[in-house]
Symmetry: D2
Subunit: 237 residues, 4 copies
Amino acid sequence: MKVTVFCEMSGGMEAEAVKKAYPEGMDRCLQGIFGPGTRLISQHEGEDGSALTEEILNDTDVLVWWGHVLHHAVSDEVVERAADRVRRGMGLIVLHSGHMSKIFTRLLGTTCTLKWREDGEKERLWMVAPGHPICAGLPEQFVIPHEEMYGEYFDIPTPDELIFLGWFPGGELFRAGCVFRRGHGRIFYFNAGHESFPNYRQEEVRKVLTNAAGYVCPAQPLAPPFGCPSPAALEKL
Amino acid sequence: MKVTVFCEMSGGMEAEAVKKAYPEGMDRCLQGIFGPGTRLISQHEGEDGSALTEEILNDTDVLVWWGHVLHHAVSDEVVERAADRVRRGMGLIVLHSGHMSKIFTRLLGTTCTLKWREDGEKERLWMVAPGHPICAGLPEQFVIPHEEMYGEYFDIPTPDELIFLGWFPGGELFRAGCVFRRGHGRIFYFNAGHESFPNYRQEEVRKVLTNAAGYVCPAQPLAPPFGCPSPAALEKL
Amino acid sequence: MKVTVFCEMSGGMEAEAVKKAYPEGMDRCLQGIFGPGTRLISQHEGEDGSALTEEILNDTDVLVWWGHVLHHAVSDEVVERAADRVRRGMGLIVLHSGHMSKIFTRLLGTTCTLKWREDGEKERLWMVAPGHPICAGLPEQFVIPHEEMYGEYFDIPTPDELIFLGWFPGGELFRAGCVFRRGHGRIFYFNAGHESFPNYRQEEVRKVLTNAAGYVCPAQPLAPPFGCPSPAALEKL
Amino acid sequence: MKVTVFCEMSGGMEAEAVKKAYPEGMDRCLQGIFGPGTRLISQHEGEDGSALTEEILNDTDVLVWWGHVLHHAVSDEVVERAADRVRRGMGLIVLHSGHMSKIFTRLLGTTCTLKWREDGEKERLWMVAPGHPICAGLPEQFVIPHEEMYGEYFDIPTPDELIFLGWFPGGELFRAGCVFRRGHGRIFYFNAGHESFPNYRQEEVRKVLTNAAGYVCPAQPLAPPFGCPSPAALEKL
């Protein structure tokens, strides 16, 4: 399985809390989750995402996307290129603030807005599809000690599979882990991963992500580009 | 719309807390939610539910079901009779501990088990389908001051429509309001209504239930009994 | 219920077959289906759809969309304006070649491509959700004598509700009637309505469309614009 | 992966057409699809299915079920035993006339009735979820030269995943390949396999079934029996 991690590294990643959580860079921590061959594309200020080339997409089974303040900077061309790959079978994992990334809203068709609050409180994640491959090896619930609160209403289409719900002490809850199918491809959204907390070091979070990569990894070769063919009848008319 | 309320009135309904919450009987309170023509069938100890006759089902658009310790006493014949009606179009609303009723598990095919705790704490209900007719006129979230905790994993099939999620202070959450389609009929499950608290007097709960009755009310006459016909071909072979 | 019909009237609508099927114009025939107060916006060559103003959308419960060769001419601004309304609750009915309209692909997130063939053959439509309000008063199957073949694979997300399947004599079949939820709004796609055949005069087709308008009509006032608020905690932290 | 095939071998299996299609017995042909270690339980007249013991279920990842005229003879105890395993994670593949088996209707909650006709005509199967693992290595459509017609309305709950649609020359169509989730387990229904035709020898059918076995095979150990525990609060109340 060939994984490519696309991770925004805006100036905000230089904040003390982030450096403390991820001295090596959050992008490198994410890369490390998916094994030694994983490719990393870090998007810095002023970059439009074009480092995610056609060649790299051609060589990617699963694309992992983390972004936040630089969503707008990713060019529409890059977004369409990647979205086209998803529809033709490439797996996509969208993380945390990636809910507002162009690729996610483009593929889902909704605003993907939600409520949020940075209060340093915990999140408790509950399985609602316990037999699902993404849940393999995980307990029925686990706590992320500090996570940004993401709350409903989360403006997404009905997920094809709802896997996790998140509970927050402030009274909110969230559809925290969701699978969507678009064309030949599968998308997994997972809310965990605010940059100020070292949540991508947490064992359960890493397990969710490696399970998810296995789940969205295509079972078949990339499909040809879509079109509207006009074939002859298969039966005699 | 013709509504029939089936409500267990076991000895437990004589407990002080219940009498205080519902001096007139919880069965009569439920009946009152759905308007003056609503029929009430109260199931007492030693009764097998056969008061829910074929004639009454013939005259029912929406059946509302509350039961708990007397589930087992309802005869299989009554359950099949009612389930058959649901499949042929009758609406069904299953409340609170009705999650373990024979009719609910029969129609859903799963165990419908869950976690529970009577701790007198609140439940906070969040909409996750805010445009849905069942949500009409309701705020995005509301609190039931005291409710039995019902928590995941709730062993139900994927709901056709997930409407409400419930948040509990003890760290649990729950798919609290769900629509299922079975045959021509629609089923709405809603968790609120522990007998020790006057929750069926709460305005928001009543609104959910009257909205739900409108939603599951059949749009068409009762379908004929199901069978496996062997019709002639429609096209020339 | 306030219905607005948006119907492309390209030069192709001047073809003899179309004029014969719809001497009054297909746009006017569509308008006539939804009752006397229905507003009509006809898009001619060179027009960008801006006649579908904010004011008109403010006064619309259900938007009906038929387009084909002029999809590209509809400005992105109009598309976003209308899509925003759908997400905030307005109903949308997309017809026939509208499957490639910008508004449909924008809201669905997929390519919405399909197979097609103009062979003047029939379509046989089968209900697969017979109790659904959109099926009210309709037979379990009915034939449209002449319809353009639309065949799978139809590149749509999993429908929230699959209502009709279409059978074609050439060996193809199609998810012909589908409901999607996006935000607060509901979308119904229905394949019938190639301009060369008077299919919008057929009683069953009209019944499907009036039922669908009732179904996607919002149950609540238009929701406010979406955003990502950061509210205070509801529970004491 | 440990597969157990449960296959009815009623007196009807002695008919000339069946013997011609499956000289070795259809049960043995089915067994052969899933590899050398596959266990076979053949149900003959007068047998109640109790050969499907607890021990065998304990040693089964995927249960394959073909039955027809002996459905009623399978004891309720066996059905509950097997259904319990599915809910706890065992995969289940239900074939052809197994749509009316007790285990299928018990897990689905509907009547699972359908239309049928033995006319020796073809079925054309179309993918509607082309990227799905069950579709791996298969063409977008393929023909089974002779198959019993199974037509809508097929009284099943909304499938969790709709994989194949079947087209029949007589004008019918059918949701031919469907995935359902029940508890921790996955169920795949597939319509192919009328005993009078050697359809389980066809390469595409075998590929569907081996793909499906891989898909419904549990990703985790068998879950413990379900119950309704009443745990202490996880958060301080």
